[in-house]
């Protein structure tokens, strides 16, 4: 298998990795920098658990080739907290008890982060519409929506 070298900005730091053509971004994140916060859910684009921010936009890392992120910026759940302080969205998820088993949480938080950047004060309907691509099997949606509202409120 042909190995190529890619360079990307991962959670704010320039990183180089040797990858194979058929390597998925999700597997690269797990296996090389050992960032396991991004979860593997369905593998076919239905659940949103593998959501990462690519150049600031939420995408699915299980359907993205590692080769395709060469030269780009990737942010995972591990890259949100700064200086040991949780991001406002992470803190809001804690406060509202928006985490049950926690498997969907990284995807939800990153999607919510992108939503608030685009629309700092979303309505409940807008939150639900934007987070439609993230599934929570514990069905804790009510608290998740509350958490996003709280994060919006606290960012005012």
């Amino acid at each position: 298998m042909i190995v190529t070298r890619i360079e990307l900005t991962l959670n704010g730091r320039k990183r180089r990795f040797d990858i194979e053509a058929n390597e998925l971004l999700l597997n690269l994140l797990h296996e090389k920098p050992h960032l396991t916060g991004t979860k593997y859910g369905c593998g076919i684009g239905m659940c949103g658990a593998c959501t990462v921010l690519l150049d600031g936009e939420p995408v699915l890392s299980c359907l993205t080739l590692a080769a395709d992120v060469d030269g780009r910026e990737v942010r995972t759940i591990e890259g949100l907290a700064e200086g040991g302080k949780l991001d406002v969205v992470q803190q809001a998820f804690l406060e509202e008890g928006a985490v049950q088993c926690g498997f969907c949480t990284p995807g939800f938080i990153l999607a919510a982060k992108a939503l608030l950047k685009e629309n700092p004060q979303p309505s409940e309907e807008e939150i639900r519409e934007y987070l439609k691509g993230n599934s929570c099997r514990c069905t804790g949606y009510v608290n998740i929506v509350k958490a996003v509202k709280r994060a919006a409120e606290e960012s005012k």
């Binding site: 298998m1 042909i2 190529t4 053509a21 058929n22 390597e23 998925l24 597997n27 593997y40 369905c42 593998g43 076919i44 684009g45 239905m46 949103g48 959501t51 690519l54 936009e57 939420p58 995408v59 699915l60 299980c62 359907l63 993205t64 080739l65 080769a67 395709d68 060469d70 999607a111 992108a114 939503l115 934007y130 439609k132 691509g133 993230n134």
Partner: protein, 298 residues
């Protein structure tokens, strides 16, 4: 292999990867590896198929880094959309919202934000699903596809682009470069509607309609339906019936009945044929009524 049996965690297919930055370069690669290559755009269809080994290309040509394939441009009589334009960009384009709102309505209904950040308008068409949401809108808008090969460009009307489930008019050395969407004529109303099990689901039935009113009668009408035939289709019989008639509820209802009679849907995992016929009737009626209302406002 069904999706439940495939290990969707990995991409089990080995291939050579190319990321050309110009259309010529991509066409050269396509011609070199004719028949043994796949065009990668958003990856939301192709990579899922490769995970299941439904397709096993030995060469994968990523066209997302070709600038000329991902732009939305205003032309004299319509809008040009590059094939590799992300669905999210189509959805957010003010020009598309203002000039051809039915396309925005259809694109907004596809998948999730994540999917729309990845998937492209050309990919939605080239995947050639009979249920493609953008396809019915583009059919109702009378769009043209622009196909590129090393020999040059050719235009194909969108009706002729789809040739069957998963198949298109594209030859092995050709790729879809873009779309031309003509502006709506004066007095036109349009509407897109779909039904699905959940809002993230692939459509059970989808429809896009266009109604043009002149002096109180329908001077032009287009009805496109998806997931009711091997390809997304125009329902010419129902369109012909409406032409020259006053757009009363009874007349629109009769057109919807004709549309439902003309289609030959199949029974599959998402719905039975009988259900699709019933739903088509209701959906076409509602969509025509909405297009009529919007046409009167313009």
């Amino acid at each position: 292999m069904s999706i439940n049996k495939a290990n969707t965690h990995i991409l089990p297919v080995e291939f050579k990867y190319y990321a050309p930055t110009s259309l010529d370069e991509a066409l050269q690669l396509l011609s070199e590896h004719r028949g043994d290559s796949a065009i990668l755009a958003g990856g939301t269809d192709l990579l899922v198929k490769m995970k299941q080994r439904l397709v096993e290309p030995r060469h994968v040509i990523n066209i997302k880094h070709i600038g000329e394939l991902s732009s939305i441009e205003e032309r004299q009589d319509g809008i040009y959309i590059g094939a590799a334009t992300k669905l999210r960009a189509v959805e957010k384009s003010e020009m598309i919202k203002e000039k051809v709102p039915v396309l925005q309505e259809a694109v907004r209904s596809i998948g999730s934000v994540q999917i729309r950040n990845m998937a492209t308008i050309g990919g939605n068409l080239c995947n050639a699903s009979p249920a493609a949401d953008s396809a019915v809108a583009l059919l109702a808008l009378g769009s043209e596809t622009i196909i590129a090969s090393l020999e040059g460009l050719r235009d194909v009307r969108i009706e002729a682009f789809f040739t069957g489930p998963g198949t298109t008019a594209l030859g092995k050395n050709e790729l879809l470069a873009g779309l031309f969407v003509p502006y709506l004529p004066e007095g036109c109303g349009t509407s897109f509607m779909k039904t699905g099990r959940t809002s993230l689901d692939i459509a059970t039935v989808n429809t896009a309609t266009l109604v043009r009113l002149r002096n109180g009668v329908i001077s032009e009408c287009r009805i496109a339906l998806g997931a009711v035939a091997p390809t997304p289709i125009r329902v010419w019989e129902a369109e012909g019936f409406l032409k020259g008639k006053k757009p009363s509820d009874e007349v629109l209802g009769e057109a919807a009945r004709i549309a439902a009679e003309c289609i030959r849907p199949i029974t599959d995992i998402r719905a039975t044929a009988e259900y699709r016929k019933e739903v088509s009737k209701a959906l076409v009626m509602d969509s025509l009524a909405r297009a009529r209302k919007r046409g009167l406002k313009r």
